[in-house]
């Protein structure tokens, strides 16, 4: 395998007296889907926020394409090529798909000295990118509020990829979705991975992770037990690591299978 595009080495993050991350190391390769698993409070959110420039690590090193990075704000990570799609903050429902797609990156058409939003170009690109992702819009001016949760995630993913994301961080993209929408989003992740984008997929659902993941890293109480490749680990083992012990095993027995 090629050298990793993004390396997080011994990342520690303290919030006052609270140690949210106690030395987490993860590396991500091009074209792989790296699943970051963990229960609530395991430190998943803190970790990806460090990766995407929202938080600054207390200790540790971030290497992007082999070079050490020091992200001060989300904008720095975005311009380096690390895009994050947040679960419920991906899109603005009142605005059209096309306006959302180009939010912050609007194409410009010059008329004399004046700069205008090139709606025609924006609309064309939006329609073609959406149909690549398998979403048929009524029109580019359709409001995002009329899309389903899965479609919104897909629009956000398509947007990040279109604007040149090399690493795509997805923060629990499936946790609020139904079965069908979840499979659509997982299919989108699969498609994006094949385009050579490194995907970091955060979830607490082992089955969703197993469906598309190449490698798996489990976080528990701010620590990691290391990374396992696909085929080396069973869903049950992942589940146990997430729960951090055996207490879930007995519960699982009575519930009959993977939670």
């Amino acid at each position: 395998m090629s050298s990793p595009i993004l390396q997080m080495k011994d990342i520690e993050k303290h919030f006052g007296p609270v140690i949210a991350l106690a030395g987490v190391s993860v590396d991500v390769h091009q074209g792989e889907c790296h699943c970051l698993l963990g229960d609530n409070g395991a430190g998943k959110s803190t970790f990806i926020k460090t990766m995407s420039g929202v938080h600054k690590a207390t200790k540790g090193e971030i290497l992007f394409e082999g070079k050490p990075m020091n992200f001060q704000r989300p904008r720095d990570a975005i311009s380096a090529g690390i895009a994050t799609v947040y679960q419920d903050l991906a899109m603005i429902p009142l605005m059209s798909v096309s306006r959302n797609f180009f939010m912050g990156n609007e194409p410009i058409r010059n008329i004399g000295p004046l700069k205008f939003f090139d709606h025609k170009r924006a609309n064309e690109i939006t329609m073609s990118e959406m149909s690549k992702m398998g979403i048929n819009l009524r029109g580019p001016d359709q409001a995002v509020g009329t899309l389903s949760g899965g479609e919104r995630q897909t629009v956000a993913i398509a947007r990040a990829v279109y604007f040149g994301a090399k690493v795509l961080i997805l923060d629990e993209p499936t946790s609020a979705l139904g079965v069908r929408q979840t499979s659509n989003v997982l299919a989108t992740i699969n498609m994006v991975r094949k385009l050579g984008v490194a995907v970091v997929f955060i979830t607490h659902n082992v089955r969703h992770a197993m469906a598309v993941g190449d490698r798996f890293t489990v976080l528990n109480r701010g620590k990691t037990f290391g990374t396992a490749s696909r085929g080396d680990v069973s869903p049950e083992e992942l589940q146990d690591m997430m729960a951090g012990g055996q207490e879930l095993a007995t519960l699982e027995g009575s519930l009959g299978g993977t939670v």
């Binding site: 690549k132 409001a143 899309l147 990829v161």
Partner: protein, 375 residues
């Protein structure tokens, strides 16, 4: 970038109903305002046609009132779409007018200089409004409510201290022939109106010193400012990158920040633009009356917000239209003046206004849900 794969031809989705182009053309934020305009004009054409409301003078009368509402509505509209309010607009109108009078009359500065300094001062106060809202994270409702009292207090205190009165007159004398003052107080197209009067299209004075002159001798600069601001606001909002940022800042500030929209800058600039609109209003008013009074602009902030809401904007931001706000201002002006022409007891104006506001908001909510899929 995903540009290598050829994009598959869009396939018709069996889950999407075909919609008529008429429906597409009609279902837009301004629809409520358009319906209201038609309704209001029909009403007054039927009930007040003979009252003089639709003579050239009558038209000028309600056009002027509507234009006043429109000037402040454009500012309030863009600010509301960006997710904030400015309750200090009315006080700002009184304050700006008073500052022009104090600078120009009491201190005797050239009026153009007084106007420019007032604009800078007021836009600065607008920026301060925005800065406090952004830095503290407090609702703009509260912050600008504080400014409402502070500015009104100064507007009463300053002339009382300096001139021992609350109305400063004599502005028309000092503004005579001033290049900048004529941008706010003059009239344009006077030749066209003289020609229309001569041609008999609009009525002319029959006796007196003005005999032969048309009763309406030009388009007041107030109306020109209103139209100019409406066009500017509409283009800014719908046709530019900055317009997209205005929608984004009001729709979801955090989501907008995550994709790199400078939300704080957008909001502060909109506060400044609102202050600019209020100052334009004040300057036109001062030039028209020739005086500045400490009670000018009272309740104007609500009239602006009402126009904007009638025009289809969402109170919580992220959605709305400048054209809609302009129609809202027109409806407001026509109703206010029309009831006067129709001879309706003036206290009933408020009843009428309340009913229109309620109807407009119900209709607009319904339209907005159709467009945005809110539930």
């Amino acid at each position: 970038m995903v540009t290598s794969n050829p994009s598959p031809a869009p396939v018709a989705d069996e889950r999407i109903k075909e919609r008529s182009s008429l429906r597409k053309a009609l279902v837009r934020p301004e629809l409520g305002g358009m319906c209201g305009t038609v309704l209001v004009f029909t009403f007054f054409l039927l009930t007040a046609f003979d009252s003089g409301m639709f003579t050239s003078q009558g038209v000028l009368n309600w056009t002027l009132v509507s234009a006043q509402f429109a000037i402040i509505a454009v500012g309030a509209c863009l600010l509301m779409i960006s997710g904030e309010f400015d309750l200090s607009m009315g006080s700002m109108i009184g304050f700006a007018g008073m500052m022009i009078a104090i600078f120009g009359v009491t201190l005797g500065w050239p009026i153009w200089f007084a106007i420019i300094v007032t604009f800078i001062l007021c836009i600065g106060i607008g920026a301060l409004n925005g800065y406090i809202v952004i830095k503290t994270g407090l609702p703009s409702f509260i912050v600008t409510l504080a400014l409402l009292f502070i500015l009104r207090g100064f507007t009463i205190f300053l002339p009382q201290t300096l001139e021992r009165k609350t109305i400063i007159g004599g502005i028309r004398d000092v503004a005579e022939g001033d290049w900048l003052a004529s941008l706010f107080g003059g009239k344009v197209l006077t030749g066209v109106f003289q020609w229309l009067g001569d041609a008999g299209v609009i009525s002319t004075f029959e006796r007196g010193v003005k005999a032969g002159q048309p009763v309406v001798d030009g388009v007041p600069m107030l109306v020109v400012w209103a139209i100019g601001l409406i066009i500017f606001g509409h283009i800014l909002l719908t046709k530019t990158r900055f317009g997209n940022w205005i929608f984004a800042a009001g729709g979801d500030a955090q989501a907008a920040r995550y994709v790199g929209v400078p939300v704080s800058r957008v909001k502060i600039l909109m506060f400044m633009f609102t202050a600019f609109c209020a100052t334009v209003f004040a300057t036109c008013q001062v030039m028209e009356f020739g005086s500045a009074g400490a009670d000018r602009g009272v309740l104007k902030e609500f009239e602006a917000i009402i126009s904007v809401v009638i025009g289809g904007a969402l109170l919580t931001g992220g959605y709305g239209s400048v054209l809609g706000a302009a129609l809202g201002a027109l409806i407001f002006g026509v109703v206010q003046q029309g009831l006067f022409f129709a001879g309706v007891e003036s206290s009933l104006f408020r009843v009428f206004l309340g009913i229109i506001l309620l109807l407009a908001v119900v209709l607009n909510t319904y339209i907005r849900r159709m467009i945005t899929g809110e539930r």
